[in-house]
């Protein structure tokens, strides 16, 4: 028994820590899906856009990438607000296809814009964090960057949850997602509220982008990889609760690393999607869906 635990301690710890990163990758997608009823196919590309923004910021101020959050989050929020206010709000209520097409188009534009500016070279947000490990006694070595990812993700989601439960705007966003018409009758301008929701979601993409950039290498076209992770997190966690999305991320991360441990590294992605398939079969609304 102890030997099994000893053998599994590494994939379990790393899976949970990586799962935290998956949680922050999926949270923005989940919010927009739940609030605006819109599948944002450009979410992954927004994440990679943020990675590049951080890269640019670091050339001006050679600091730890985490400090570039101060610049990247506001910029991403503004980009998100503009996308919703100027593009997506125009086609709300006109069926499922127009918003999908716009988001898809946005994804292609972002990828090619990044390709044009930054060339297809592999990049990473270099920091000493990326290579350090923290020993937990002589029991376990934790990669520091995974731990930082997990903590930043957890803190972000806790702050987000506080925002949704404590502020007028947070409550108005939830009200608009419950009943748009009734929210308008309360004096809430739902289109502006949707734009703020998208700003917030893009802000979380900004956080995710910096963490992803610190943890892995990225190219202009890596966005869709993270889009698929975000999809997985949303499907496993279900809509309606931030904590559920975070837990969905943990399950996906755990499934991937345990799969890689038992079946070999080539099966890491596959085993994640097997869990996805199982959840879709037995609980299509997601494990932690509300309402």
């Amino acid at each position: 028994m102890l030997s099994i635990l000893n053998e599994l301690k590494v994939p379990i710890t790393n899976g949970l820590l990586l799962g935290g990163l998956y949680g922050i990758i999926g949270i923005g997608m989940s919010m927009i899906f739940g609030i605006v009823r819109l599948v944002n196919l450009a979410h992954g590309d927004l994440i990679i856009l943020a990675s590049y923004l951080s890269l640019v910021a670091m050339t001006f101020f050679p600091v730890n990438p985490l400090f570039t959050l101060i610049v990247v989050i506001p910029v991403m929020c503004i980009i998100g607000f503009i996308i919703q206010y100027c593009l997506l709000n125009r086609i709300l209520g006109k069926g499922m296809n127009p918003p999908l097409l716009i988001a898809f188009g946005l994804s292609i534009i972002l990828q090619n814009l990044l390709l044009l500016i930054f060339t297809p070279d592999a990049r990473t947000l270099l920091t000493s964090i990326s290579v350090k490990t923290i020993p937990l006694g002589n029991f376990l070595n934790i990669p520091l960057v995974y731990l930082v990812d997990f903590i930043v993700a957890l803190v972000s989601i806790a702050l987000l949850s506080r925002f949704f439960n404590r502020t007028y705007m947070g409550k108005a966003i939830r009200a608009a997602s419950d009943d748009e018409g009734a929210a308008q009758l309360m004096g809430i301008n739902t289109k502006t509220i949707y734009a703020f929701a998208m700003a917030l979601a893009s802000g979380t993409a900004g956080i995710a982008g910096i963490l992803v950039g610190m943890t892995f290498t990225f190219y202009p076209h890596t966005g869709p990889e993270y889009l698929i992770i975000a999809f997985g997190v949303v499907i496993i966690g279900g809509l309606g609760s931030l904590l559920g999305t975070f837990l969905g991320g943990l399950i996906l991360g755990l499934a991937q690393l345990l799969g890689a441990h038992f079946l070999g590294p080539g099966f890491q992605l596959l085993s994640g999607y097997l869990i996805l398939l199982i959840v879709l079969t037995f609980k299509p609304t997601g494990l932690f869906a509300k309402g």
Binding site: A175, L185, M186, G187, T190
Partner: protein
């Protein structure tokens, strides 16, 4: 206190009301749902501090008229004036800022928000937020059950309690005019009686009310003035005491 100087439209003509301030004046509006002509040349006047009731069968256009006043629909012809200011073409959230608030048909409370959060959404507009605590206390006095259940999700309330919440929520912005759309729908007679008593209480505090109701007797009892609609038109107008039940039935059924 608010004697009615004006008789039916036919007797007094279209001149303004004498001695009573008109709060809402709807003049000759036409409303369409796509190609469907829903309201035909509808005119209506609501005096300050009155309870005015619109009666009509299903599909007569009552809710359409309410939604048009609240800004959900926009008239293709005619004007809507609220204390002298033209308000047609405003969005619903702008109408709230003007002082018009609505208790929508089917209550439409926010199911995943708590009772207190629902009430807070009622005072979302900035000038209402500052008076939140004061108004909230008044609403808890009006509906003590809402204070008791303030931290419950509103989806866990009974139908009558949800209706009280919807009314409380509409009052949070300290409106001058409240539109009550079918507030007795699906509720037991006892609960309906209770809710109408509250509406009366709200009205005595100076809030003007425009009611839509299918129950003719209940409407005649509650209102200072009634309008009877049929097929998207106003068929009859007057104070409850003046209208014979024969005329009311004729107008109601369009005979």
């Amino acid at each position: 206190m608010y004697g009615i100087e004006r008789g039916s439209r036919g007797l007094s003509g279209n001149g303004g009301s004498i001695g009573v301030n008109s709060l809402l004046r709807v003049q000759n509006i036409d409303v369409f749902y796509g190609d469907f002509h829903a309201l035909w040349d509808v005119s209506l006047e609501v005096e300050e501090a009155f309870v005015v009731s619109i009666i009509g069968a299903n599909g007569a256009g009552k809710s359409t008229l309410m939604n048009t006043i609240a800004g959900v629909l926009s008239p293709s012809k005619g004007t809507i004036e609220f204390h002298g200011k033209r308000i047609n073409g405003l969005m619903p959230y702008q109408a709230v800022a003007e002082g018009i608030s609505m208790v929508p048909e089917g209550r439409r409370v926010f199911p995943r928000l708590t009772v207190l959060e629902n009430l807070e959404m009622g005072c979302y507009i900035h000038k209402a937020r500052q008076k939140k605590d004061k108004v909230l206390r008044k609403i808890y006095e009006l509906f003590p059950i809402l204070e008791e259940r303030r931290n419950q999700l509103s989806s866990t309330l009974s139908g009558g309690e949800q209706q009280m919440l919807a009314i409380g929520r509409a009052l949070m912005c300290e409106p001058r005019l409240v539109l009550f759309d079918e507030i007795s729908l699906g509720l037991s007679p006892l609960v309906i009686k209770n809710i109408y008593q509250r509406v009366k209480q709200i009205n005595t505090e100076g809030i003007t009310a425009l009611l839509v109701e299918q129950d003719i007797q209940r409407s005649l009892k509650a209102a200072h003035k009634v309008y009877i609609m049929q097929s998207g038109r106003i068929r009859l107008e007057g104070r409850p005491g003046e209208l014979s039940s024969e005329n009311i039935h004729k107008a109601y059924f369009g005979l």
